[in-house]
Symmetry: C2
Subunit: 750 residues, 2 copies
């Protein structure tokens, strides 16, 4: 009954609200393509290779779809199922066909767009909410409003492209039966989806705003920018993922979504995978606003945060352009995605023509077919591309940049890249992994972050949606390269608690060309416990490659059990301690992710340095840890309590230390040598670290001695309290006095 | 005492046997490089790009080594250790420096070779047998005579290059103190190594022969070609790997090694990995014989088997050029190896300038710096390269080609490649895997063969040698995609028994452009049991890619338990039966490889088709099996009883059928669709096989019905007894009569 009533209600609202605006004349296209832009593009056709190639690709794809015929099936499936995939394909092809009509001025594309839109205008009024009920906000074409919003973001562009070509009557039909009720469904009918700060809402806001701009419907544009009042949502309500829908005093709308989740550095609090996903509606709606409402100066909003965010995102990738899978992130997603093609083109065109972006566009091999894509293709044609050199970068989190962040250490050649997460919770897609880190070597994972437990859009795996193992495993602390206290997750895995806290930057220093450091503290993850992790990427000219020094200091008021896992990839080579392997495999624990880990072996450290080495992708790696006698050493493998085989069978090497209150865990990760199965030569197959030792540790300072097989001794002293760059320190270790300025000393042992 | 005495003995023998020949003048270089060849090469320098690039690479490498200085350490280590690696590097650099001296006529290379050889001439007489005792035939520089032989094969070339440049006195010193005793140690002093048919002996024979050719020492050349008498070896003695050293009536020497392990098709009975290894001494010694003793017509020996073997080897690779790891084979070894650069260059130069070999050389990116390399580089320069198109091929095994073989089915584009092994045992490197198969897709493994359990030359893994898991796992039947009876391996895993038998080709038919078949029988692997496997690669224009039909018929006089494993790679997507996963993992069995398999889940088939699908490398795969109700279905994963983590944690899906005597196991393997983590689209994610059914099965015929989701029904009828191509068959199935000629019918269901 509700559905029927609400449906009639829309039609009335839809009709009433469109009518006052329908008469005002506006140029079309004006949203993404513009009349002037199209003229310029047409003048350059055949002259700008990357643009022509992209046009050719697009034409081929759309022509194939036109040949296939139009299908707008009655919605039925979850992600990955036929009706889902078909409607998704439709939105993509509609947008592209609209562009082709404008650029090629071939009516067949306009006809295709019109005919499909007309089918939608017939179908849409007949649709109840989607029959699949899993979402907290069901769409009509799709099982969630989110996908319906995707559809409208793209289809509003197609509508803009054929707007002038349609008859007034056709436009009226489409707006009355399709677009206006569509915009209302994803906004006023679903405030729990629309009126929040979340990537879902960004899509919703952009969708409503873009169709509003095309229809010249000020009410919809206002609703897009600022949300709407009286949403009747209760503070504290949650969505399917456990995320808050409404918090106290929360602002709504597109600008609020730009204010809150983005830090001043352009880092998006959910992490790069969702930032990539959200970038498209942010940027495409911004482009539309720029074109139709230039007075808003949207690209200058919050000191140009939208364009900064593209730079942040490009820096949040490994050497292959794949995003670090911080929080929920599907591995393999990269700057080759369609969202990043748009992002790079827009950032170049509206952001001062940075020539480094041209080299990314060259790798992408395609451009958007509008002014921005033409700019970038012409820049490449004119030979202005420069390599995009990723540097070490510290990206703050939080709308004011004061809620922790993500730090990345790398040298120019990206031999080893270290990523430290010390950010805020990351909304509902956040993981409980304060101070976790991961290590990459030229695009390969050395110490991995598991990413999400989901096969996005693969229907046979849980409808393509989040799997329950995302909660029971992927989000848990033990699934990450960070410290676990007493087999519990940070904040006890409670979103409400985690969401209130963030880690804090201690310092980030990359001024020295052979020592780079990122240091951060976490005081809330465990009760009465402070953790302080410092990652150092050291270039030693006597060593083959830079190596990673990891200093993790924990200080608790009680005695605890600590686990420190290292999720290596590849095949074990050797270790320097005794261990036993069990006859049967049993899970390491019963909850908080431990129930998913098989214990494959267990030993005890027998010397002050525990060494563990492995081979992966034809390279050798060694972890050297400063250990106590009888520290436990565990070999784990994922896969227990996984009845649907949803988890990868990944391995970890784990240090376990019991009954300690104040401890410092110090490790070195080296990449060394190579093995070729073709030449069968093994080169530099063994570690170059001969000793790793904590030679000083108190509340103020921690001193770590590193000795290499070439008899070189280095000392790193960290100030644990004073991070000021100008502070002068003095410390005596083993009767020798060290003096330095700033938070750390790195140099010879006296 | 023995060592000392035998050392003095050598010196005497060495001196006596060299002296009669030392006065006879012979041109140098003459072995691989020739005086005329060098002149031609020098005339072309700077004109043939691939040759110049290869020369530049070589020069860079050798110059770096010269700068490093000479080291000939006292031998101490196993494979992968410093002294092993250094002496190995030395032989490589010596050979290259010799070549550079000839081509560049820069004396510094001659000086380097001479100085290092002089060090060896001082060191060698002081050496006892190598201190590591694991080998059945210890070398002096290395732990096995095999590596010493490698050294001499290369170093004899270096000696040839500087022979004329050295003084008579220097030559005498080298021959007396180094080369002659060296040649004797690996031959007369180690008959168990030298006087057999094995890749070890091939290296030994070539080493002795090549230094004999350089020294113009007829006795050594004779010893190389024919071995020597009175070796005092007992028939039935075995080496470390369990291989026979001497069998009744066995011939010896290089020609015997060419006669026996090579089939007339050029397949080498140990498999492609060892064929690659053996190719170098076979071909390089042959090239030397061709140059010095053209009257032997070595390249025409046994109908040109040496050159045929290069073609066989190139066809035994996947689309990336990696060898199928049949028997003991290290994965990743490929036609990019130095041995195959030599092989391809020689095969081109001496084998009629096949332009397809030029495209392989282009991929290799380097050539040998002699006449053969110049030929190939000039062929490429002249634009004569054609693609090397691998076709389906059946390669017989056995010296007369009557001991089974290996069949490969593929279409030109190598979408799916099927490899069936129905060969002889493969000497001591053979696995117990009669009628096993593997499937590849464009260079990726779909159903894998495990290969060997060894990290070749990685010292920290068992000295770089075979691991015990090679015997307990890799060689066992259950480690392969073939049928296991009662949890035992073929021939009960007994080499003596397996070595007496081979499978038999039933038929190989690739004349039809959309159905290719290989069919073979095995009658000896299990007592009173015959197995008959037919693999069919079918192209159906309604399906996206070719698919594999597997028909495995077993006929035993007793009731048995059968396991049929499929070693898939990747992540499980879905299955159509119920199963349970255990709380703890236990090994599937106690011996014959089963002790290494964890049982991760167990179910029972609930319909006449069991389906199991997985995702790997962004592609979907489905296995469809015609099953009985209550067939057991097992999920296994490798890793049990593996205390040193030597085994990969690979998975299998296994069909288990109990208490049956006569059975037919029918399966289809499909590759379908794709998933991109960048676009997040899943395309064609489900199987197109709607029914797979055995609709006829008796002693004479087996009829299999295949139905696709496009309502296409196909029928394959196999004759189980009569393989003749001209035989006319008639059979009634479901009241319809089928008539055809030849061993199979494939067509519509009537």
């Amino acid at each position: 009954m509700f559905l029927k009533n609400s449906f009639f209600l829309f039609c009335i609202i839809g009709y009433l609200s469109i009518s006052p605006f329908i008469a005002i004349a506006q140029e079309h296209p004006s949203l993404i393509l513009t009349k002037a832009g199209v003229e310029k593009i047409r003048a350059e056709l055949g002259k700008v290779p990357l643009f022509d190639v992209s046009l050719e690709q697009l034409k081929k794809e759309v022509d194939a779809e036109i040949a296939l015929g139009i299908d707008t099936p009655v919605p039925k499936d979850y992600s990955g199922g036929y009706t889902h995939t078909r409607h998704k394909k439709n939105w993509i092809v509609l947008q592209k066909a609209g562009v082709l009509f404008q650029i090629l001025q071939d009516e067949k594309y306009a006809i295709y767009v019109r005919d499909m839109l007309m089918q939608y205008a017939e179908l849409y009024p007949t649709l109840p909410a989607h029959p699949k009920t899993r979402s907290y906000a069901r769409g009509k074409l799709f099982w969630q409003c989110l996908n319906d919003s995707n559809w409208l973001v793209y289809v509003s562009q197609a509508y803009d492209c054929i707007y002038d070509w349609l008859s007034k009557k056709e436009r009226k039909n489409l707006e009355k039966n399709l677009f206006r009720p569509f915009a209302d469904w994803i906004s006023v009918k679903n405030p729990q989806f629309y009126n929040r700060v979340h990537n879902h809402s960004t899509w919703g806001n952009a969708a409503v705003g873009m169709i509003g701009l095309v229809m010249d419907d000020e009410e919809l544009v206002e609703r897009a920018l600022y949300g709407f009042k009286d949403d009747a949502l209760e503070v504290g309500a949650k969505d399917n993922d456990g995320g808050f829908i409404k918090e106290e005093g929360q602002k709504t709308g597109f600008l609020a979504n730009l204010d809150e989740p983005f830090s001043p550095d352009g880092y998006y609090t959910e992490g790069p995978y969702y930032q990539r996903y959200a970038m498209y509606p942010f940027l495409i709606f911004a482009q539309g606003l720029h074109n139709v409402k230039p007075e808003l100066k949207i690209f200058e909003y919050k000191k140009g945060v939208l364009l900064k965010s593209v730079n942040a995102l490009l820096n949040l990738t490994d050497a292959d352009g794949e995003f670090f899978p911080i929080n929920d992130g599907q591995k393999g997603m990269s700057y080759y995605s369609r969202e990043l093609v748009t992002a790079v083109d827009i950032a170049y065109h509206f952001g001062g023509n940075n020539p480094e972006l041209l080299s990314i566009a060259q790798k992408q091999g395609r451009v958007v077919l509008d002014d921005t894509g033409l700019s970038i293709a012409m820049g490449i044609k004119e030979g202005r591309a420069k390599p995009f050199v990723k540097k070490s970068i510290n990206l703050s989190d939080g709308s004011d940049g004061d809620q922790g962040g993500v730090g990345i250490l790398r040298y120019g050649e990206e031999d080893l890249t270290v990523v430290l997460k010390y950010a805020a919770q990351g909304l509902s897609h956040g993981h409980y992994d304060k101070l976790s880190f991961s290590v990459y070597e030229k695009g390969e994972e050395v110490l991995q972050d598991y990413g999400l437990a989901r096969f996005v859009n693969i229907e046979q795996k849980g409808g393509g949606n989040y799997l329950k193992e995302n909660t029971t495993w992927a989000k848990q602390t033990v699934a990450h390269n960070t410290l676990v206290q007493n087999e519990t997750s940070h904040f006890d895995g409670k979103y409400e608690v985690g969401n209130k806290h963030h880690s804090e930057l201690f310092f980030f220093d990359t001024t020295n060309d052979h020592v780079q450091l990122i240091s951060a503290k976490e005081k809330n993850a465990y009760p009465e416990t402070e953790m302080h992790r410092t990652l150092v990427l050291i270039k030693d000219k006597n060593m083959e490659k830079p190596y990673v020094l990891d200093i993790l200091k924990v200080n608790s008021n009680t005695k605890n059990k600590y686990d420190l896992p290292f999720y290596y990839k590849g095949q074990i080579m050797e270790m320097n301690f005794d261990y036993k392997v069990p006859k049967s495999l049993n899970p390491l624990g019963t909850s908080n992710g431990y129930q998913h880990l098989w214990l494959e072996g267990k030993g005890n450290s027998t010397s002050q340095n525990t060494k563990f080495s492995w081979l992966n992708n034809q390279k050798f790696y060694t972890l050297t840890m400063a250990t106590h006698l009888n520290d436990e050493l565990l070999f784990t493998r994922l896969g227990a309590n996984d009845p649907e085989f949803n988890l990868r069978r990944d391995a970890a090497f784990m240090l376990r230390r019991k009954d300690v209150a104040k401890e410092v865990f110090v490790s070195i990760i080296e990449s060394h040598g190579a093995y070729s199965p073709v030449s069968e030569f093994a080169v530099n197959a063994r570690s170059s670290i001969s000793n790793l030792e904590v030679i000083y540790d108190d509340i103020d300072f921690t001193g770590v001695l590193i000795e290499t097989t070439k008899d070189k001794k280095s000392l790193l002293i960290l100030s644990n309290i004073e991070a000021s760059k100008s502070y002068e320190h003095k410390l005596e270790i083993n009767n020798k006095e060290y003096k330095w300025t700033g938070p750390y000393y790195f140099g010879p042992v006296k």
